[in-house]
Symmetry: C2
């Protein structure tokens, strides 16, 4: 057992509350010291060495003065280290179900080392380690379970249905499209660049895809969904949602996973097409992967690992090395810079 010592700890700290879209200047990179003596922190927690941290759109909500209580982690205050989902290695443990050397995924800090005082609630032990550990910051973490429960539980798909996925080349979207194909649906995705549109069509098995920034949205939807949409997997919000509501078929379902276009506006765009909800008997359902970690995650992860091993599922991840690049990597997701799941590699083991 190593001796207790002080480790230099690089941290991404929220400098001030975010206004509008997060900017690199909203964050500081600080270096502090982290004691490896777990008696310094109280009992039942674990000391983590962080490996991979996930760049997730929802994080901006925790960077503003308004407190949202429905997230597993709390909102940030200026001066506090950013927290989010990631993959880490246990280096000291006061929690009986985790031991030194175990790998975990869950809520951790954007820093080299984190003390996690509530591992039971915030962390999941990684049982299968012969897949890349970074997968637990994406396809085997919240992106995967969000895509899976969103698709199977919320969308309740039927074979042959017409499916639309927005932000389809994103960390969740590119999985939803593949799940939808496995369910026997016709799947169209949209994205913000032609490169990503190509990826959807050539590598990810989408039946069709379009660049929503090229041309009028209504015309694009009318063209790609001449007979309407049965299931919409919503990642975007705003005008996209409004136009899609006008294109939904009778008894359509909208799984509301994200609304990235709206997160950084002073005032969200008003949605005018909600009468469609009545006259087409639509269902809109918001959900959070948080609610499924104890019920659906284990089964999903087992299934997804099998699919990955048999090359039946394509996973696109984009690694940004180093905490010093975390702020710019994070900010970039609000501008569509990522392809697939973007994460920061803090350390490799």
């Amino acid at each position: 057992m190593e001796e207790d010592k002080l480790l230099p700890n690089k941290q991404i700290v929220l400098k001030k509350f975010v206004q509008g879209c997060p900017k690199e200047s909203d964050f500081d990179l600080n270096i502090t010291n982290m004691s490896t003596n777990i008696r310094d922190y109280g009992s039942n927690g674990v000391l983590l060495k962080n490996l991979y941290i996930s760049c997730d759109p929802y994080l901006c909500h925790l960077m503003r003065p308004a407190r949202l209580s429905s997230f597993l982690q709390g909102s940030f205050v200026p001066g506090s280290v950013v927290t989010g989902y990631g993959v880490a290695k246990v280096i000291k443990s006061g929690y009986e179900k985790l031991k030194e050397g175990d790998y975990v995924w869950g809520v951790t800090g954007w820093e080299d080392f984190s003390w996690n005082s509530n591992p039971e609630k915030l962390l999941t032990k990684i049982e299968t380690t012969d897949v890349p550990l970074s997968y637990y910051a994406g396809i085997l973490g919240i992106s995967g379970i969000a895509a899976y429960v969103g698709w199977h539980e919320i969308c309740a798909p039927k074979q042959g249905e017409i499916v639309y996925v927005s932000s389809a080349a994103g960390g969740v979207g590119h999985l939803v499209g593949q799940f939808a194909k496995m369910s026997g649906c016709y799947v169209v995705g949209s994205s913000s660049t032609n490169e990503k549109v190509d990826l959807l069509k050539t590598k990810l098995g989408f039946d069709d895809a379009f660049n929503y920034r090229e041309g009028d949205l209504r015309s694009q939807l009318n063209k790609h969904f001449a007979n309407g949409i049965d299931v919409y997997f919503e990642n975007v919000g705003g005008d996209m949602l409004d136009e899609v509501l006008g294109n939904m078929k009778l008894n359509g379902r909208v799984a509301v996973c994200g609304m990235i276009s709206q997160y950084n506006l002073t005032e969200p765009k008003g949605i005018r097409n909600l009468f469609s909800v009545i006259h087409k008997r639509l269902m809109l359902q918001g959900f959070s992967e948080q609610d499924y970690r104890s019920t659906a995650y284990a089964e999903y992860a087992k299934w997804a690992i099998e699919q990955l091993r048999e090359n039946k599922l394509v996973y696109v991840e984009e690694v940004i090395p180093g905490l010093e690049n975390a702020a710019s990597a994070f900010v970039g997701i609000y501008h569509g810079h990522n392809i697939g799941k973007r994460f920061i590699a803090v350390a490799r083991d």
Copy 2:
């Protein structure tokens, strides 16, 4: 058997497409002749003497140039007789399942006599006639089944939940409130006059009620739902929906039955609070009673008749006598003039 003859037939005719809110001047009262010889109409239909016709908010959607295909009846064109839900007596029948003297409810014309060419689809035979027949234009017709399936199927209530019903003194709302109390919920209703608010509290068993026109809506909702809303039965739309979304609790449900505040606007009000759908995991579900007539209606009607006989359910209906008053009665529902279910008495038998 009566001899075939020509009957004078008073009709409410759509004079021109409705713009904005329906006005009395959008309608004409015409008198034509109706042959009682069913061979004049083709086979399988029935000739109806109309008794009661229901004033339903959805009808305005069928009075505009846009064609909505999700309603049981078709859209109107200028010059055509208005159709809607009502109660009628069969006076001639070419349809094997209905005979002369039977009573029916379903889609019929706003006129003294109607030829119904598709009774199988449009009409339901009235089996129990020892309750007022007008009830089949309301509590035993579409208002009742809408309230019942909306409450039980869509809201999926749990005992002790906090429920909000807008337009609570309307034909559907005043039933939903009573169903919610039967389910063991705490129920608050809103309405447009103090008279109706009193009715909700003193006669209809609502735990509380308020006049939404008196004072700031947000403050009223905050006051009446200090701990948030589990279930919202939506009849109003617009600002009401927007503010309610901000007051919903985690895992809340919104049964979207109507949006009467929005029906006659040139452009619907934009709803800005839809991010609540994600972070509170809300479900919004539109529905139509049309989809439940063959599955849930018979059981519902049996139950409702029992409740009425045992005085466990209060039904508020408001009769407007005479087709000549139909247009003003109909127009008035968009201004909150009705109390409970408003219908036109065309004839008493």
